[in-house]
Amino acid sequence: MSRADVLVDADWVEAHLDDASVVLVEVDEDTSAYDRGHIKGAVRLDWKTELQDQVRRDFVDKGQFEQLLSAKGIGNDDTVVLYGGNNNWFAAYAYWYFKLYGHADVKLMDGGRKKWELDGRELVEDVPQRETTSYTAQEQDRSIRAFRDEVVDAIGSKNLVDVRSPDEFSGKLLAPAHLPQEQSQRAGHIPTAINIPWSKLANDDGTFKSDDEIRKIYADAGLDTSKPTIAYCRIGERSSHSWFALRELLGEQDVKNYDGSWTEYGSLVGVPVEKDV
């Protein structure tokens, strides 16, 4: 697996706008961006209503994922290219999610919606009509998903990478600074976690830095690549971005995303928490 297999640039996407084997998918938490304009031919995935179970805190199950992709007109043999706002956080989350359910060929568009807009490229309002398919998903690949007990057991033994901003890591803030700060969780981080914010891996325009630059950032921060790694953030989407960099770009094998992340860990009774402020 090389960078070119998992990450395509905006030029590649423009060159494949009419390629029937490529399905563009915009993924956002707030889907109003899609309504204001999206890349021609792109279908929409709503992170909140379509990828999350609407009652329990968990993902949609295999059958629901099959129904969702079938209804979106995505086939098992299609090349799925994901992009979105927020520097591709939710697109990276969807990438991880597609991998979790075993989709064969999935890629991220480097820089996502921001890069596309800053380039001044065309956005359209036409919503494409795609024929439904009969999508078949695999059972969840648990080798890339961490749950809370494994995270607690990983303290002091595996790499725990907290990809939130330094102020969230230290406990000064409870959420990214674009959100109100009144939250129920305790502030701080998991003991022994190292703080390598997702943003260090990206340029201002949202594109990923080079593999060598990313490798150096992790090495300088003290990541021991001989050990398994679990990445977390607040709800698991920024850590999907870092999971993508570690596993898909750098090729590290044992890397999991902890989608429960701080909104779960920071609410657990009795677990250790470190706070620096």
């Binding site: 901003s165 330094p166 953030c233 920024r238």
Partner: protein, 99 residues
């Protein structure tokens, strides 16, 4: 939710006792600039948050007390603006992007 909220649909501004709000407008000439990307960088230059300006060019961050830089991106342009956030207050920043 964790992503940046739509700046056109923000709740009325209320500053919690522990919050330090930085907000304002991005303008180009006399008009607000919608769709610009405003990045909030901490005193070491580390990225903290990013939002896209509303239809009127408005943006809002819930920062921590201290010195910050607003880096505003528009096609072909990047403008840095210094701002100091104060606990319990909303500090207004004015960002001018060259025409």
């Amino acid at each position: 939710m964790c992503g940046a909220p739509d700046q056109d649909e923000l709740p009325p501004l209320e500053v919690g006792a522990g919050e330090a709000v930085v907000h304002g407008h991005v303008r180009r000439g006399d008009a607000g600039l919608p769709g610009a990307y405003v990045r909030l960088l901490d005193s070491t230059g580390e990225f903290t948050a990013e939002v896209q300006t509303s239809a009127t060019g408005y943006f809002r961050f819930y920062a921590a007390e201290g010195d910050w830089t607003l880096r505003t991106l528009a096609p072909g342009q990047s403008v840095d603006t210094a701002v100091t956030a104060v606990r319990g207050s909303a500090v207004e920043a004015r960002v001018e992007v060259p025409a």
